[in-house]
């Protein structure tokens, strides 16, 4: 009978699917288990290997038409050079989207052969679940000397971060030191008001000089703005990186306060920068500036965009930020007022030094699935992109479409690994070539990277009168911003502090958001005078400790002892 047959068939299908589903996730991916023969390492000899990838993308990659993440010049070059076939298992933008894809892939127990991992916690979790391959041997055997030198330039901070029980478990991306948060000053205002900034010409300002300058700008009000503002800050006053834009970091650092960072204080105890007495001092300085009217009287309510309009409207002529803010923030000022010129200064401590913190050397990683039989391919890709492509000009001649990618500014996410692997000093090194070329001491061709070459072109065009905003930006970010960083390094003006970058602890999971809010709210209250300085700061510190801060410090200590 039809009815009975149907039921039987249905029952069978169902049973089949159930078993498949439930067992399927237990046994990991079955697809790679066939090729468990001896690892052959010569790309030609090992036969074409299929490599599946988890790729982090961006909304606007600027591909030439027809190209995509799975099929573009970088991928084609990689496939040809290494005799592999790259297939994307998933593609997603950074943040929630990417984390969701990783999580889904992981939940079903199947990782792509290689994928980017965006946090240390996730890396630890993958290691503890034995899902990723040990890369120690392949790294030692295959990584080129140049690549090894890059990692070594971080004094071990890069590789230590991916080493578990003595095994290298991932390819770390590198993050070079961001340098100090600079005080960018409208130098056309300085001129028109007939002021002198930085009398001794050491490109550094003391806190008093900053205050005096802001005062002079308000009093002079060169653009006749209705409500001139001395210095404006973001509602979250501090930033977690040394170069935090629109933050009080430069001032805090000058006083030896390192907000939002974990480090060992003078007594050798692990502590959180925002609760140290130096932080109180930094807040008291901003508080007195606020009282004086040097700091924006709407502090705390201004959004990022509001601060940008203060600058573009000519209400404000001082802004704190990293060397690259001309490229994406100050460009708005120039667009509306092509007379605008900025000069960056470093803010120094009483000892005349610029306090700065080392960046977290690695926050992103590429991992290889434990089921993947050719982990050496990951290292070969590493060599290809971060050594050969940088150093071997013949490669670009052989792959002209890769060369055109570099010139056209196709986004870096197009590469198989969306990570940067550059030496700790790359920024200054590359700028050295640009500087030499601009001064006529070198040539454009000697500049090693495409990005810096295109900067050279924009700057040259601007100097010849193009008036182009890109030229203005690059002059500011490179010949002023990076130039200042170079100056500080060469004249040994930095005082480096190495923070601890812990993994997210259990208590952080539950309490960190609260603690951050507590910190931000209290700091604003203290600075604007809504809370008294001494008691306000004390009650913040005790509140912070009681609401999980102390536990977190203990947890991080335990992490460090491991």
């Amino acid at each position: 009978m039809f009815n009975r047959k149907l039921k039987k068939a249905a029952a069978l299908t169902l049973a089949g699917i159930m078993t498949l589903s439930l067992w399927g996730c237990g046994s990991g991916s079955g697809s790679t288990s066939e090729s468990s023969q001896e690892t052959v390492t010569d790309p030609a000899g090992r036969g074409t290997v299929t490599v599946t990838m988890g790729r982090q993308t961006t909304a606007n990659p600027k591909f030439p038409s027809g190209d995509s993440y799975e099929d573009n010049a970088y991928i084609r070059m990689t496939e040809e050079k290494l005799n592999i076939d790259i297939q994307d298992e998933f593609e997603a933008e950074s943040g929630d989207d990417y984390n969701r894809q990783v999580s889904l892939a992981l939940s079903a127990g199947t990782l792509p052969s290689m994928m980017k991992v965006a946090s240390k916690d996730e890396l630890t979790e993958l290691y503890e679940n034995e899902l990723i391959a040990d890369l120690t041997d392949v790294y030692n055997q295959y990584a080129s000397d140049y690549v090894k030198a890059i990692y070594d330039s971080f004094d071990g901070r890069a590789l230590d971060n991916v080493t578990y029980d003595g095994k290298i478990m991932a390819i770390p991306a590198t993050a070079s030191d961001a340098g100090t948060s600079m005080c960018w000053v409208r130098s056309d205002w300085v001129e028109s008001l007939g002021l002198t900034v930085d009398e001794d010409g050491d490109r550094c300002l003391t806190l008093d000089e900053v205050r005096a300058l802001a005062k002079a700008f308000i009093d002079g009000n060169p653009e006749q703005a209705e409500h001139p503002v001395g210095i404006a800050f973001n509602a979250s006053l501090t930033g977690g990186t040394s170069d935090g834009t629109n933050t009080i970091n430069a001032i805090a650092y000058a006083l030896g306060a390192y907000p939002r960072l974990w480090f060992e204080n003078a007594a050798g105890e692990l502590t959180y920068g925002s609760i140290e007495p130096e932080m109180k001092e930094a807040l008291s300085v901003i508080r007195s500036w606020y009282e004086e009217g040097v700091v924006d009287n709407q502090l705390g309510t201004r959004t990022w965009d509001d601060i940008t309009s203060l600058l573009t409207n000519g209400q404000c002529g001082i802004v704190f930020g990293s060397w690259h803010i001309p490229d994406w923030l100050l460009n708005n000022v120039y667009t509306l007022n092509d007379k605008a010129v900025f000069t960056p200064y470093a803010v120094v401590s009483e000892e005349g030094k610029v306090n700065c913190t080392h960046a977290n050397a690695t926050g992103e990683f590429v991992v290889v699935s434990a089921d993947f039989d050719h982990p050496e391919i990951a290292i070969e890709i590493l060599n290809l992109f971060y050594d050969d492509l940088v150093n071997d000009s013949a490669l670009l001649e052989a792959y002209p479409d890769v060369a055109s990618y570099l010139n056209e500014g196709v986004d870096g996410t197009a590469r198989p690994f969306n990570i940067e692997v550059k030496s700790n000093t790359y920024l200054l090194d590359e700028y050295g070539f640009l500087k030499a070329a601009l001064a006529g001491e070198g040539t454009r061709e000697e500049i090693p990277t495409a990005e810096e070459r295109s900067n050279y072109d924009s700057i040259k065009a601007y100097q010849e009168g193009s008036g182009d905003v890109t030229g203005w930006c690059k002059i500011h970010s490179r010949t002023k911003g990076v130039d200042l960083l170079t100056y500080l390094t060469e004249n040994d003006l930095y005082n480096w502090v190495t923070p601890v970058y812990p993994e997210t602890t259990d208590t952080m999971n539950t309490s960190w958001a609260n603690l951050q809010t507590l910190e931000e709210e209290n700091f604003i209250k203290i600075v604007t005078g809504a809370a008294p300085l001494d008691e306000g700061f004390e009650s913040f510190v005790s509140g912070w400790k009681a609401q999980g801060g102390d536990t977190i410090i203990a947890e991080i200590k335990a992490q460090l002892e491991q």
């Binding site: 039809f2 009815n3 039921k7 169902l14 439930l22 996730c25 984390n99 999580s103 889904l104 958001a513």
Partner: protein, 305 residues
């Protein structure tokens, strides 16, 4: 189940097999896509490790449920969910009922049907679309804030303030749904015997009195039924809407159960914990549905299902 099906014929066997045939294809889909995944709920009682699968992961009993009860986040999330859901139900019903009563007074056919067409429309649009509309209107520099500051109230950070975010969520949902929800009430009003109104009018009852003493009592069964039905969804405050409008700044006031489970259980990879919260939520929702069904059956003689 299978052995029962194979029992000997009864008199309606011929027909019965047709009915099985009608039901079977759909049932197969339900079994695969609804029932099969329910086995995955065992992970709520495990420390689920994907590499080990459901069979290899360690069972930990009620650990995740206990953890859930200790977590301060959960209290916050449940509070937000209840406030938002109840707010939507309460204000949504009031406005829908009021609108139905008013609409019923409109005599101009053209106006009536035009307004109906317009107010039903938002119900059919995705929150993806409407969130974009809402962000355009309610951001700090959006039209609403421009109006507010021009009349001297000052800007309100609707999307980024824990004081107003819930109100925004409730308000935009009421806006989206009140028109469509008024349909049932309008039908109920049309079902009221016009003779009652006529008699009352002759007795000199005012319009207000007639609305209060005839129309509303006449709608009462529907109002009660709808209340019961709505209350069963008190644990789902609208994932699509909240997900498309919230941001970390307003987690404190806007994070609801569904978004929390998504963030923790999926993006945050705490699979077991996410499953435990989801399971607890489903269980409470089922319980409420069954209770509501019994209640409405008793009170109004109608069943939800």
């Amino acid at each position: 189940m299978k052995s029962k099906m194979l029992k000997p014929l009864n008199k309606s066997r011929g027909q019965s097999s047709f009915f099985h045939l009608f039901v079977m294809p759909g049932m197969i889909f339900l079994l695969i896509f609804n029932y099969l995944p329910m086995f995955g709920l065992v992970m709520a009682f495990q420390d689920f490790v994907p590499a080990k699968g459901f069979f290899g992961s360690k069972f930990v009993g009620l650990k995740h449920f206990r953890y859930m009860l200790q977590l301060p986040d959960i209290g916050r999330v449940i509070r937000n969910t209840l406030i938002i859901a109840l707010g939507k139900i309460f204000f949504g019903m009031i406005l829908a009922i009021a609108f139905a009563i008013l609409l019923n007074e409109i005599r101009m056919k053209f106006l009536k049907s035009t307004v109906q067409t317009i107010v039903y429309l938002p119900h059919f649009l995705s929150w993806v679309v409407l969130a974009a509309v809402a962000v355009n209107l309610f951001n700090l520099d959006g039209s609403v804030n421009q109006i507010l500051s021009s009349i001297g109230i000052g800007k309100i950070n609707f999307l980024g303030s824990n004081q107003v975010f819930r109100k925004l969520i409730i308000g935009t949902d009421v806006w989206k749904e009140f028109g469509y929800n008024s349909v049932v009430y309008l039908a109920a009003i049309t079902g009221i015997d016009p003779g009652l109104h006529e008699a009352a009018a002759i007795d000199g009852a005012s319009w207000w009195k007639r609305i209060w003493h005839i129309t509303i009592p006449g709608m009462m069964p529907i109002i009660m039924l709808m209340t019961a039905m709505n209350l069963t969804s008190v644990l789902s405050a609208g994932f699509d809407q909240v997900y498309n409008l919230y941001s970390p700044i307003v987690y404190e006031s806007g994070d609801v159960l569904d978004t929390y489970v998504y963030r923790i259980g999926l993006v945050g990879r705490q699979y077991s914990f996410g499953a435990a919260v989801g399971l607890a939520r489903s269980a409470v929702a089922t319980l409420m549905m069954v209770t509501a069904n019994h209640l409405t059956d008793k009170l109004t003689g109608q069943r939800i299902y």
